[in-house]
């Protein structure tokens, strides 16, 4: 299965990917800006994400919140999201409203600043602080992402600090920060625009160049500090968090090859073998057979620079103490590190991944998002059509090579959540372990 892909670039550097599909009168517009929390300055954690909120507060010709209103009035859906390496904005609209979606994106890329006010920034700061309370502070295991970033990346690394940011840094963000960030990163030459679905390519090209063409190229962005990391941590890492949670939960991370590399696909298959669905190793052994885990999974972060992470996520059964859970998980990892995986396990994982790849491409929004992703990271949106093949090329040998290189003791970092009431038991366990 292949989806059509054509590309062009405007003089101001905006890269555009188009993919036609006329099965329904729907079109998706998707913009990736190549900026994320990794680009934040010291003392401004959370700024990239706060800035994403500001992009819905109006621009030269669009009122506050009018972007949302105009798209919903047109019968469309929309949102934005921020990640370590990128920020994206997307709309899916009835195909006769393509021009509206493109114009709205162009207006905020071209002329955001005339609409910015201190009042809007203050309100969105409060909204984001409430987002932090809701998704991080008042949610069991909600601090997992920021604690994991701290545990696995060195202090000065761009991936080391919190994405949603600290309350303190959010309070410190100023309108001047907004203006600078906009001028530096929200430029056509730092963005990718994808359009997928029901449109006429000639019309789409004309609209894109009319709306985005007049926006000036940026002045370049400051380079990121060196991202490259050694392939392994070089030591065993372990952090225990006593928190307001009901059940102990273990996140075990390995450094793995960056997203898009050949070895990444082996790591992705290894994650699926370990934790994707009921037939996976950890589900079978820890949840079904030994019944020490209430749930188990594994995933990759899909980071395209520095190093990726493969993370195992296992929640204990109520009667199972964290010490036992850790032992059981480590035993599984030791086993796989010693003996590797089987041909059958690789086949199962690839079959599941392939079905997911195809079913996800049913949605125009997904297609557009993936085109933008491959264009932003690798300059090649057509990689969307090579994914199944890349996965099929993974062999039991390549997975076992990956495991041999990356699953050793010196490349394991455990982030462990323990119920606060369990503190006493845990410290007794630690004392007992220390005595031997």
């Amino acid at each position: 299965m292949r989806i059509p892909v054509e590309t062009f670039r405007l003089d101001n550097g905006l890269f555009v990917a188009l993919s036609e599909d006329h099965t329904a009168p729907i079109v998706a517009v998707n913009l990736w800006y190549h900026v994320g929390s990794a680009n934040e300055k010291t003392g401004r954690t959370g700024f990239a994400h706060l800035f994403e909120h500001m992009l819905f507060q109006g621009s030269a010709h669009v009122g506050s919140n009018e972007h949302f209103e105009l798209i919903q009035r047109a019968g469309g859906t929309l949102n934005g999201s921020t990640w370590l390496e990128r920020t994206n904005y997307f709309e899916t609209v009835p195909s006769n409203e393509l021009a509206l979606a493109l114009w709205l994106e162009a207006d905020r890329m071209g002329e955001l600043l005339p609409a910015m006010t201190q009042e809007k920034l203050d309100t969105q700061r409060d909204v984001v602080k409430n987002e932090r309370r809701w998704s991080v502070d008042n949610q069991p295991y909600g601090t997992m992402l920021e604690k994991m970033q701290e545990l696995v990346f060195p202090a000065s690394h761009p991936f080391q600090h919190s994405l949603i940011g600290s309350m303190e840094d959010l309070s410190a963000a100023s309108l001047d920060d907004v203006a600078q960030f906009f001028a530096t990163y929200y430029t056509p030459d730092n963005a990718v625009l994808s359009i997928a679905g029901d449109f006429d390519p000639a019309v789409a090209r004309a609209l894109v160049s009319d709306y985005f063409g007049p926006i000036p190229r940026g002045k370049g962005k400051p380079p990121l500090p060196p991202m490259t990391l050694p392939p392994v941590f070089g030591e065993r890492r372990r952090e225990v968090v006593y928190d307001n949670v009901s059940l102990p939960r273990l996140f075990l991370a390995f450094r793995t090859p960056v997203f898009g590399s050949d070895d990444y696909y082996a790591a992705s298959v290894a994650a699926a073998i370990l934790g994707l669905r009921k037939g996976s190793r950890l589900q079978r052994t820890l949840v079904r057979e030994r019944q020490v885990a209430a749930d188990a999974g594994a995933f990759t972060f899909d980071l395209a620079k520095g190093s990726d992470l493969l993370v195992i996520d296992v929640t204990a059964r109520p009667e199972v103490p964290i010490g036992q859970l850790e032992e059981e998980v480590e035993r599984e990892i030791d086993l796989i590190y010693r003996d590797g995986v089987t041909e059958e396990e690789v086949e199962r994982a690839i079959a599941l991944i392939e079905t997911d790849l195809v079913t996800s491409l049913q949605s125009a929004g997904e297609r557009a998002d993936r085109l933008s992703m491959f264009a932003t990271y690798f300059g090649r949106p057509e990689l969307i059509n090579e994914q199944a093949q890349r996965y099929r090329a993974v062999t039991v040998q390549s997975v076992n090579k990956l495991i041999a290189e990356r699953f050793g003791e010196a490349n394991r970092a455990s982030l462990i959540y323990v119920p606060r009431e369990g503190v006493e038991t845990e410290s007794m366990l630690a004392a007992a372990a220390g005595a031997t």
């Binding site: 299965m1 329904a24 009168p25 729907i26 030269a60 010709h61 919140n65 209103e69 919903q72 009035r73 047109a74 019968g75 859906t77 609209v93 009835p94 195909s95 006769n96 409203e97 393509l98 021009a99 114009w103 071209g110 002329e111 309100t123 969105q124 409060d126 909204v127 984001v128 602080k129 409430n130 987002e131 309370r133 809701w134 502070d137 008042n138 069991p140 609209l207 985005f212 926006i215 949670v245 009901s246 059940l247 669905r277 009921k278 037939g279 079978r284 079904r288 019944q291 749930d295 929640t315 059964r317 109520p318 199962r348 599941l352 392939e354 195809v358 079913t359 491409l361 049913q362 119920p419």
Partner: protein, 449 residues
């Protein structure tokens, strides 16, 4: 400079919900086929009239447990083998129960459809319910219940149901059962429930995607050959409110940085003559980003990351609820705004702009909802479960467009009851109690979580 000229929409391109064939197989199973030849993907969704409202008193959770156990062993294969077989075909089967039905579902590449559907038929028609797996799934449910104690969103939802419905209503208890009811369930309960309810006359198979009607009929006819005949009894559902007087329940969570709020009352059954005006009314009130409640709480006041209202549509009258999480210090003012918005939409006719926003959104977004085979199958399932007319999806957009501002005012007056609103707050009582007590929103009780 980007042009200041706002683009106008082009001519609307027509759209039709996928055509489908709805028929009874000779053995009594209802088969709905929607050929959608877009990608080589097919979804098969089986629904059985065996949802949680059918749980016998004291056996709450047996419907969910039974559905969950379908994939945990058949006469021929154990659970691990089943998972392996499905997954080697690149699919996995999901099964479960909600209030109104039990379901089992696969989405698969067309090449593997026959084999995967054959397995799906097996798990539905010859489940073994191994004792060991019964006990394991029960233990996993108990772990889930324990997790709720520290999960404010889920806890607020659960407490809201408990305080909303009378104790003899099935809706007042968690759909998957409480710690007490689940602990008491046995393999015999599961088997009995299965035998009573999993019957051909209570079963609908929906198949959507890359398949022809002939092939679908042959496949489903073969796979569901051995299926117990007859239909399950219609259960009797009690869904009365626990009280008609306003009241407030604070579920205390010391040091909580936010208060999870739920405000509402018993709503309406899914099948009711005012469905469309009520749906559009709720879109104006709290169903959209640009709705009154979200703009007020989030964009005007910055109290929250998001606020919404919805009718939880079920066969019986599910809840109407406003749901949000606000910074602890502003809990009382946020509640005041919520009550104010519910009152306001009942007293003033909404503006033409608000009406067109809600109507145009619901009308326009319709095709975007059905991009995937899974979404099409679940729309067809809703049609079967709620006994909606066969032209329901073909006339949906017309029905939305016909809703007037007057009809919305009537729906708000008839179906929003400010004097019966129940308020549940999961938050730090020491911070929020006094200011909430000053609001005129009913008697206040504080509970330990």
């Amino acid at each position: 400079m980007v042009t200041s000229l706002r683009p106008k929409p082009g001519p609307v391109r027509s759209y039709r919900f996928p055509e489908f064939i709805d028929q009874k197989l000779p053995n009594g199973i209802r088969l709905v086929i929607a050929p959608v030849p877009k990608l080589p993907v097919v979804t098969v969704l089986v629904i059985v009239d065996a949802g949680s409202t059918n749980d016998p008193v004291g056996k709450e959770g047996v419907a969910a447990l039974t559905a969950g156990l379908l994939v945990e062993g058949t006469a021929q294969f154990n659970g691990a083998e089943l998972a392996e077989k499905f997954e080697r075909l690149g699919t996995s089967v999901e099964s479960g129960a909600d209030w109104d039905s039990a379901f089992a579902k696969i989405t698969t590449l067309s090449d593997n459809l026959d084999e995967a559907t054959t397995l799906l038929g097996r798990i539905l028609s010859e489940p073994a319910f191994p004792e060991r797996e019964v006990e394991r799934l029960k233990a996993e449910r108990l772990a889930e219940i324990l997790q709720l104690e520290t999960e404010p969103r889920g806890l607020a939802d659960e407490k809201f149901s408990e305080f909303l419905y009378s104790p003899d209503s099935r809706y007042s208890r968690p759909d998957e059962g409480s710690a007490q009811s689940v602990s008491g369930l046995s393999r015999a309960d599961v088997e009995q429930f299965y035998k009573a309810r999993y019957r051909s006359g209570s079963t609908t198979v929906i198949i959507a995607g890359d398949i022809t009607p002939d092939r679908a009929r042959t496949l489903i006819g073969r796979v569901f050959q051995q299926w117990a005949p007859g239909s399950a009894d219609d259960g009797k559902l009690i869904a009365t409110a626990r009280t008609r007087r306003k009241s407030v329940h604070i579920v205390n969570k010391q040091d909580a940085p936010q208060s999870e709020l739920r405000v509402g009352h018993v709503g309406l059954p899914r099948k009711n003559p005012d469905f469309f005006p009520t749906l559009v009314m709720n879109a104006v009130l709290g169903g959209l980003f640009g709705s009154r409640i979200n703009l007020n709480l989030r964009e005007v006041h910055g109290y929250t990351y998001g606020a919404s209202s919805f009718y939880d549509w079920r066969r019986g009258p599910g809840p109407f609820v406003v749901s949000t999480a606000v910074q602890s210090e502003v809990t009382a003012p946020a509640l005041r705004e919520i009550f104010h918005e519910i009152e306001r939409i009942r007293t003033e006719t909404i503006s033409a702009e608000e009406l067109s926003l809600a109507r145009d959104y619901l009308d326009g977004v319709f095709p975007i909802r059905y991009e995937t085979t899974a979404a099409i199958a679940s729309a067809l399932a809703a049609q079967a479960i709620y006994d909606l007319p066969s032209d329901y999806y073909d006339t949906y957009r017309q029905r939305i467009r016909e809703v007037t501002a007057e009809a919305i005012l009537d729906a708000a007056k008839a179906h929003l009851h400010p004097n019966e609103l129940q308020t549940v707050v999961v938050g730090d009582a020491s911070v929020i109690r006094d200011s909430i007590a000053e609001l005129d929103i009913g008697d206040l009780q504080v509970h330990d979580s």
